[in-house]
Subunit: 216 residues, 4 copies
């Protein structure tokens, strides 16, 4: 029974082009929608330059949260794109793990608005880190499935991926989880860590997370 | 006259690539927009961790509704994708039945917000089921049109599709309609059923809705 | 000078694939965003089934406006798609007339919300018709440019397009303009006409707007 | 060390198709979302034609801001599209500079809403110009990187791009920066200049910004 199910799960020869199109759609919308949470406060008609300047200052945390989360979406897009480039066969399992990952990624607007509105609240900063850790775990599941399921990517490519990373592949989830705990001591420290993690993933070679040579 | 109209309806050799692109666009936006309905309540600046935690709890039904409807959109995307992969010729009729289906699917944000806001209301849970049944019916119309119109898919593929399903193809619509009726006895039971239906469609082989072997 | 400008305007051999991708993106987002204007009224926690039912009735005009405008976007998508399929060369002029058309089309959410909120207001129904007429005019400009600029589509295809329509191509704009005037006598009559125009464009062969035979 | 990093940054042979798909997604959503900021004021049920007309007048600045920013997005889309058409190899550096550019471009909804709400406020008009200048700078960085990194575009194409422009490539950023300063003397003059800059970029050949001949 379990064997038959696993067969159905790993069967199928579906369209990689449409999987990428749907994923690219979700990535680009998830990133672009973030701007809707930078809502300028409703000012009276008579608000002068000082009032407007105060309004702009009040949305600065939202703008910083936008930059952070837009970068996170781009990071996942780059990684997802490099991973799927190697895929030779799209199975039902891949589609559904991809769907789970995209469901969590598209949720990013919610914790982004939360830290934008309540930047100094431990709970808000902690929820952001927990959602990031969940996204990281879902990506890890997708990544592992692709690496371990026979016939999904060529064995040589799987080998290259395994040897290309210096840190275990789920370290992102661990880093975010740790920062979410730190948020209870200092929300600002946690948010600074979230920025640092993003920068580390943009420049993985600089920080020794990945080997610098090769076609990555 | 009717004959001439049917001729025009089934004529045309339109672009499958753009039909898929437009559909993928609607699918990915319909799924991603759902996050906009998880609106954190506006809290006073002085709201402490307890206030924030209460706020998070209050949006939990919205978050669950998001998970449910995102899964529904993914399920239709997977099925739509497998169906269109077989299509050889895009007729006007296919375009318009596809348009009707997408119009109802894109509407999903409305009943999702409704059950998120009013999870214990029979009418809300019932409206969700009715909209799901309508989406199911529209998909059924598209599916039947594709299977029955000569020249749209190869006969062998149509045969395989017909024999691959163990349940009649419109059973989704029936299941949702039945759950919508149950909502009047217990809204929570109906919502649990909606989750169960989604899980059944994600693992159709496990539940005997589809045969496990074959390229599906 | 004018000659040199016309040369620059009609020059270029740009990518048709990305023009279609950008257009399909705008089409699918313009259609899907319409659902955001069906906003259920904020009800008190204690609102019973009767309160919810009244709330649902109050958004019925918005839902009907959604159906109408989603259909309009689909109609333009089908026509745009058939027109661009014939294009062999994407010039700067085509890109900018396409951009003008998409700018007006993406604006559709505004008059849709207007008639959804104020269905019995002459000005609202009239604004809807005027925006539709403007979209129709912009599409007419794009269509004429493509038909008349040498080298954009093959001469045979241009000839087929010219002879395929029984009504002048800008009749859509005229019909919407006329209905916008009728709105001042009866807003409901104008909205009924908008639905009738949409149906006429979905079944052009049935109504003698286009010849039934041929590859359309 | 720096050398190794630069190697990693300029390495990679990633998919141009998905880079274009993600970019086209952000471009089309950034443009289409702008319509959400044209929010008709909530009128009482009893508001007559005069009330509705006053409401429409009050959103006229928002509608003009929509036209301006939609045109800006289209201009960048046309340029981005022409630039990426020439790219032969997508490096990590290109992806991240593209991501930075898209992050700033997708932000356009915020200053657009600002000038739509406060058209006569120096600070609002100035912020619009500053954001436009930042988008221009980010595009300039992407453009320079593509022109200067060996192997990204063929040398002949890079040469043609360099000689095709009559003005330095970052003049857009300078023009916007200058207009942002003028906003402090007259916000309306600055907004008129923003429209003029957009028109100049739509018709670059007419204004001597680019040579009229050639495949551009």
């Amino acid at each position: 029974m379990i064997h038959r199910l696993r067969g159905a799960w790993n069967a199928g020869r579906l369209s990689k082009a449409r999987t990428e199109a749907f994923s690219d759609g979700v990535f680009s919308i998830a990133a672009t929608l973030l701007v809707l949470d930078i809502r300028f406060p409703k000012l009276p008609e008579s608000a002068g330059t000082a009032g407007l300047a105060a309004g702009l200052l009040s949305v600065l945390p939202n703008a910083l949260a936008y930059v952070l989360s837009f970068a996170v979406v781009c990071i996942y897009w780059v990684n997802h794109h490099q991973l799927l480039m190697l895929v030779e066969r799209v199975t039902r399992g891949l589609l559904w793990l991809n769907g789970l990952f995209l469901m969590l990624l598209a949720f990013i607007a919610f914790p982004t608005a939360l830290i934008g509105e309540h930047p100094f609240q431990p709970l808000a900063a902690s929820v952001y880190g927990i959602v990031m850790a969940l996204i990281g775990l879902a990506y890890h599941l997708l990544h592992s499935y692709i690496l371990r399921t026979p016939g999904v990517i060529p064995e040589a490519a799987a080998e290259r991926l395994r040897s290309g990373a210096r840190l275990p592949e789920f370290s992102g989830a661990l880093l975010y989880g740790g920062s979410a705990a730190i948020a209870w001591a200092s929300p600002v420290a946690a948010i600074v860590l979230y920025f640092a993690i993003a920068i580390a993933f943009i420049f993985p070679h600089a920080l020794g997370f990945a080997k610098a040579e090769g076609a990555e």
